[in-house]
Amino acid sequence: MAAVDSRGEVLDVQALPLPYFLLRARVAAMEPAEPGQFVMVASANRPEPYLRRAFSVYDQEPASDGSLVISLLGKVIGRGTEALAACVPGERIPVLGPLGTGFHSVADDASKFGRAALVAGGIGSAGLGLLAQALERAGRSFDFFYGGRSAEDLVEAETFRRLSERTGGWLVTTTEDGSAGERGLITTPLEAGLRAGAGYTTVFTCGPHGLMAAVARIAADAGVAGEAATETPMGCGYGACLGCAVTLKNGGYALCCRQGPVFRLDEVAW
């Protein structure tokens, strides 16, 4: 499947509120992304920052004219995300994608699995949007663990509550300041769930490095397999610059943009 560099047209940018935003763009010729895949985008009208930014495809909808409407869930943290959040409707942006290797376990026979736990830290929820939809479509039950520093970080809580509840699962939230859900880290209810026999056979995670490392340890202790959608600084997104190395347990490196961004929890040297 070839990733195509296509022109996107910004439909709207919604402040969720800022620093979080949801950018919707119509892309003329792009194949739908698999859960976990990403696109490289930039604001074409600004010379800076120089490189494009990687965004998970958070949501997508094929249109009748053959185009694809993609939604990118972002957080303004630097010049690249600032420029994208400032895009105006009608603005043309280059979109290269879909790129990378997504969640493998989804492609497998869903009937082999029990329930899944999805664990998102803040904006990491962007990497789990298509996965949650795919699991729901496949009739696979999951609980969605959503952690943040405070309530504002749980921007898409209602979306994931709806999706998980439709599968007979739950949304579980925590915040470090206690402004939403239980006070504390999201790994605490995850561990409790695993201990209490919630029946998870797979754990999927996306979020800060520390969270994913903790999830990997917890899953290993519980004897549960899982995958993480990782993030590294990226130059090109398509395997040319070799800048996005992820260190593996076997001592080697893998490219986040090609072999990843999704890796098995037990293959990454967290």
Partner: protein, 314 residues
């Protein structure tokens, strides 16, 4: 302009770079286009003047630990660590798919001892699909306390001389900008028997994460590339082209047709496009189209007439 635009439906983009004849002066730079084939789906390889492979060593290399890149104003730092598949796999798996395409294939070679460069040159020498070798001489010379081959004129001319005896292919020496006088190193390469100089490699730089108070790159220092280095690279190409009697391939932050023209006017016979490919994988072919159109509109019959024009007396 004496020639009207209408009479120049198709300006001549072909260029001669020493023994190399290219269909146009736009090449892709080493380390920015993989080995070429990976990009067949994203770029039209047929339209390039040439492509320079990712640097190849005798054995495959895994590269440096993360973090390997850092974006900076107008460019980026990289410290990839020369990750590559090794020369043998390139020759057996990749070259067959490239050799019949119109762009000339230049293989970029590097080693940590003279011997390694020699053996690499011997290895690629029999392959017809290899149009030339480009020596990355910005590697630490292990037997000389880690001083880069490209930083000492005597070492460099000795290295090129040995490679010269190992291959009949045209030799391109890629100059380091991190020296007082790149032109002196260019002359040393010429004395050793180089056919072509490419200028320049990346500028050593660094970035610091103000939150962690640590260098961003795992290796602390990295190579700066992108538009930020263009004026610096242009100056070096200008000086090298004037002072060394070898054809020069210009490299450094090239992204627009004007950038290409500047390097040609400074004395380059061709250019390599690098970091701009990360921003847009079609940059090189866009430049081929854009250059043709500019020459047509400006009534310039050939690329040839531009080369070195800025260095000639008015």
């Amino acid at each position: 302009m004496s020639a009207g635009a209408s009479s120049l439906a198709s300006p001549d983009l072909s260029t001669r770079v020493g023994p190399l004849r290219l269909q146009n002066p736009i090449l892709t730079a080493s380390g920015t286009f993989g080995y070429g084939l990976e990009f067949a789906e994203r770029a039209d390889l047929h339209r390039l003047g040439g492509l320079v492979t990712k640097g190849l060593s005798l054995e495959p290399l895994a590269g440096n630990p993360p973090v390997r890149i850092a974006e900076t104003r107008g460019g980026m730092l990289n410290s990839i660590g020369l990750q590559n598949i090794g020369v043998d796999r390139f020759l057996s798996d990749v070259l067959p798919g490239l050799k019949d395409l119109p762009p000339k294939v230049i293989v970029n070679l590097f080693g940590y001892a003279q011997d390694e460069y020699v053996r690499l040159a011997e290895r690629v020498d029999p392959y017809e699909g290899v149009a030339a070798v480009e020596l990355n001489v910005s590697c630490p010379n292990v037997s000389k306390g880690g001083i880069e081959f490209g930083h000492d004129p005597d070492v460099l001319s000795g290295l090129v001389r040995r490679v010269r005896s190992a291959t009949g292919k045209p030799i391109v020496v890629k100059l380091s900008p991190n020296v007082t006088s790149p032109q002196a190193l260019g002359r040393a390469a010429q004395e050793g028997g180089a056919d072509i100089l490419s200028a320049v490699n990346t500028f050593v730089g660094m970035a610091i994460d103000t939150a962690t108070r640590r260098p961003v790159l795992s290796t602390i220092r990295g190579g700066l590339s992108g538009p930020a280095i263009k004026p610096l690279a242009l100056r070096i190409v200008f000086d090298v082209a004037r002072e060394v009697d070898l054809p020069v391939i210009g490299i450094g932050g090239i992204e627009t047709v004007d950038d290409v023209l500047e390097f040609l006017l400074a004395g380059a016979s061709a250019v390599q496009v690098g970091t701009a490919l990360f921003r847009d994988p079609r940059t090189a072919e866009r430049l081929v189209d854009g250059l043709r159109e500019r020459l047509r509109v400006d009534g310039i019959p050939s690329v040839d007439s531009l080369i070195g024009a800025a260095a000639r007396p008015e």
